[in-house]
Symmetry: C2
Subunit: 313 residues, 2 copies
């Protein structure tokens, strides 16, 4: 079931008062190197440093008053935890955030700074899910999945809506693909607000579940997730996969060294601090230059919460 | 002799077609920490990565046709060389750029990329001046000083004009002080386009010539320039000093560790790639928090041309 344009507009109303309308940056040096015109939608400048603020706001904003009183719970290796903590604080709701012990320290500190209540667990999806479920049962809090939740997807779509409002004639829009919530939301925005704009995903070869899922027609999982793009290690879900199947044209896979090279270009040429995951769609574009030749391309820079003491270059 | 508002408007006309109107970024986390509301005017996103593009465009754009044919020459440890090379290419003029041998490789490569003709010399002001003069005599090119040139100062002022156009009610505007061209231009913009806005400069204790010049009433020089803020090692000149004396309220000095801490905040909280020099006015604000309490403050982020492989944190 594909959400309607009206659903997206309602999400926009809920999200807009609490977010930055993030700038769209361009670089003639990058365009020259890429052979096309790229519009970087900089969600690294979003509140709490990532697009995830949008999904969290829409999901929490759409709860009933009783649900809001009981709070929300999520598990996250980083950005969605921060997003839920800050969005919940904005809306006067308690946020319980389950984080793997090995999550970056800067992300744990940010969740605490936003008054999120952290519970740490071991770094497996199973441990995260079990711990979240325990909290849900104990507190009555509503569980918010970082990517497989329709309200989260619709909230994410608002970044794309802003992008198309400013650049209505994009030929392609690219996002990273982790859990699938951003690419699904962006594809919805392109469908309703673009002008024959194709949505593509970028994914590491080291975590190419979405690429394989699109080909097999069912949700595939990753055996290993040995990629620097730490935000892209999760897999698709039953809420976002139907949207992705219907509206995402393809997934382009990239090697780790291509991610690092693209990341360095983003830092040095675009002058922004962006997470490795953000570089994946740009790396995909550089890998398939011929496809994008002389086209107008939007790329969602998904987040900028990175420890600058620990860079891959 | 203080330039007129009309002089600034003419510079704006010359510069505007070739530059980005750079975004102004804010961060509620930074504001909380600083105790005031800060508007960062991000000239690190400017063409070639720094505000210096504005001064170079205005100075070259204001040459006669005969002068343009003979070309321009400058000496620069980095950003102004790139600015002159790119501005000259935009206007169809040959640019000769004298650079110290130890200038960052990334800056040398950028000058070459913009078709600037580089001559290297040893890393002293005297060698830079002598080498520039030799080229000037040989080619007939017009010498452009990076900061002590009225057209450069007026071009620099256009960043401030844009800032005040968007935020007309700033109480303070802060810039780094190196050669004095940015602080002089910004002070002019504040004088004509601000509303009782004071202009302040930030300067390293390790290169505090402007601080001492304002106090002695004459241009002082630096004995040593042992600061990480490599853009701020130069001294004031007879063109910009009268403007600074008339329109800059004060210079605030900061320690090296304060510059590094402020730089890291800019990277991690504002999510932008900025040069160490850019962090100096922000460090000055953090050092004198009580002065800025609850005020609205503009800070010009001067440039982002930094080697991300060689960071101080």
């Amino acid at each position: 079931m594909i959400p309607s344009k009206q659903d997206l507009l309602l999400a926009m109303q809920r999200v807009q008062p609490f977010v930055h309308e993030t700038p769209i940056l361009t670089s003639s040096m990058i365009d020259e190197q890429a052979g096309c015109k790229i519009f970087f939608k900089c969600e690294n400048f979003q509140k709490m440093g990532a697009f995830k603020m949008r999904g969290a706001l829409n999901a929490i904003g759409n709860l009933s008053e009783d649900q809001k009183k009981a709070g929300v719970v999520t598990h996250s290796s980083g950005n969605f935890g921060q997003a839920v903590a800050l969005a919940a604080r904005n809306l006067g709701v308690t946020a319980y955030v389950v984080m793997p012990e090995n999550a970056p320290q800067v992300k744990k500190e940010a969740v605490k700074g936003y008054e999120g209540r952290i519970t740490e667990c071991v770094s497996t999806l199973q441990a995260r899910e079990t711990t979240s479920e325990e909290i849900r049962v104990k507190t009555g809090a509503t569980f918010l999945h970082p990517s497989n939740n329709l309200d989260v997807i619709l909230g994410n779509a608002t970044a794309g809506i802003e992008l198309f409002k400013e650049q209505g004639d994009l030929d392609y829009v690219l996002t990273p693909v982790g859990g699938g919530g951003l690419v699904a939301g962006t594809a919805l925005a392109a469908h309703y607000f673009g002008n024959k704009c194709s949505t593509l995903g970028g994914e590491p070869f080291q975590a190419d579940d979405a690429y394989r899922s699109l080909r097999s027609g069912k949700i595939e999982t990753n055996v290993s997730t040995n990629t620097i793009a730490d935000g892209l290690r999760t897999h698709l879900g039953d809420v976002n996969f139907p949207i992705i199947k219907a509206l995402v044209s393809d997934i382009i896979r990239v090697e780790e060294h291509e991610i690092i090279d693209a990341l360095r270009l983003i830092w040095e040429r675009l002058k922004i601090v962006a997470e490795p995951s953000c570089a994946v769609p740009f790396a995909a574009l550089l890998r398939k230059k011929e496809l994008f030749k002389n086209k107008k391309v939007g790329i969602i820079i998904s987040g900028g919460n990175v420890d600058v003491k620990n860079l891959p270059f």
